[in-house]
Symmetry: C2
Subunit: 225 residues, 2 copies
């Protein structure tokens, strides 16, 4: 079908979209996860961790985070609070979820897709290792914070308990490989091992990695040395 562009109203476009594109929509795939072979693999969408000082500035003095959804690793949660990020390109990145609990220093974890949108050259780092990383502007409902550092792409990693580490024959900081089977099969060759007594076996990748390997359609995983 064709129509003069000048005559295309919003209502027409909406009608066309409703009528024409009728395929089934999957659930929100922004944070897909898959469990196969007893291995749980999560995609972490862009998010940030806040320190007490920055929380006060962004959401008001004494504000406490509102836990909205427990994460797979015990004690961690997605908060109801979100912020907007700004970088050199001056294109805002809204609805960036705050994760709790609070940390000693604020940190932003982005996929490269997000970093490119902002114009920030994010390095690949393990969470918490933010020496020499770039900053960003964080906008909250009560104020804004200029982060001088802390914007990273979180390196793909696997959480596990000491017993699970012993089972794999690995220790804290070792590197493993993760094979993702499915329509876009791939092996991530540098998956950092993080061992903690409170941890459950769980791989964290970002949304670019999840999209690259079609995580939402994955048919199996292999984690190996």
């Amino acid at each position: 079908m064709a129509a003069d562009a000048a005559t295309i109203s919003r209502a027409l476009v909406e009608q066309i979209v409703r009528e024409a594109v009728t395929r089934r929509l999957g659930e929100d795939r922004a944070t897909p996860s898959s469990r196969t072979n007893d291995l749980v693999v999560h995609a972490s969408a862009r998010h940030m961790h806040l320190c007490r000082t920055d929380l006060d500035v962004l959401f008001g003095p004494g504000h406490e985070l509102t836990p909205d959804k427990d994460l797979y690793q015990e004690g961690n949660y997605a908060a109801a609070e979100t912020v907007t990020l700004l970088g050199p390109r001056r294109r805002p990145l809204p609805n960036v979820r705050v994760l709790g609990p609070l940390r000693k220093e604020s940190q932003v974890e982005l996929a490269f897709t997000d970093a490119i949108h902002l114009g920030i050259d994010a390095p690949v780092r393990l969470s918490g290792n933010i020496e020499g990383t770039p900053g960003a502007i964080v906008i909250g409902p009560k104020g804004i914070v200029e982060m001088r550092r802390g914007v990273i792409r979180a390196a793909i990693h696997v959480h596990m308990s000491p017993a699970e580490a012993a089972g794999y024959g690995v220790k804290q900081g070792d590197l493993m490989k993760l094979r993702v089977l499915g329509p876009s099969p791939a092996v991530f060759e540098q998956v950092i091992v993080r061992v903690d007594p409170a941890s459950r076996l769980n791989v964290h990748m970002d949304t670019d990695e999840a999209n690259a390997c079609a995580l939402h359609m994955a048919t199996g995983f292999e984690l190996f040395k």
Copy 2:
């Protein structure tokens, strides 16, 4: 620094961004490419191919594409023309580049990031294989087209000449593996071989795959069976 959100003007935000975020900006990374070990790997940003009928509707009867930039594969070019895509989520995806020359049937090639933005459940297909794929709304300066099919994630593939195929011991349609070395090392385990006398050795991946393996920081490639 802190300020009352109600007092944050656009000018202030722009000033803050200019002053505070001073790190070096890389070149546009939307379509990175890297050459190492004589293997050229390109990231294909979202784009579309048009048939004669759809070009007429979108850009006017008899319109001819304006070659803007030659692509690495001889005879192919990025045109000056762009379109806007719409899907069920009714969030437009603007500035989708048209590639030439024209084809028998229109086709849209998206990364999953783009498909999720539109709300389209794109399957992984080799270019040209669009039986049973979803459609989209395409908006051009002169009209709109309702594509009933043709939206895909293009499967990662490698173009090569018959001589290069013989050198690797592969033939049309075979699968190879591509290892990308660097800060986010990964192996793509199903790289489809496309052999053509006019082809030059060249891997095409999409932007999700490029971001997952940090293609813009890649230090080496290995293509193997």
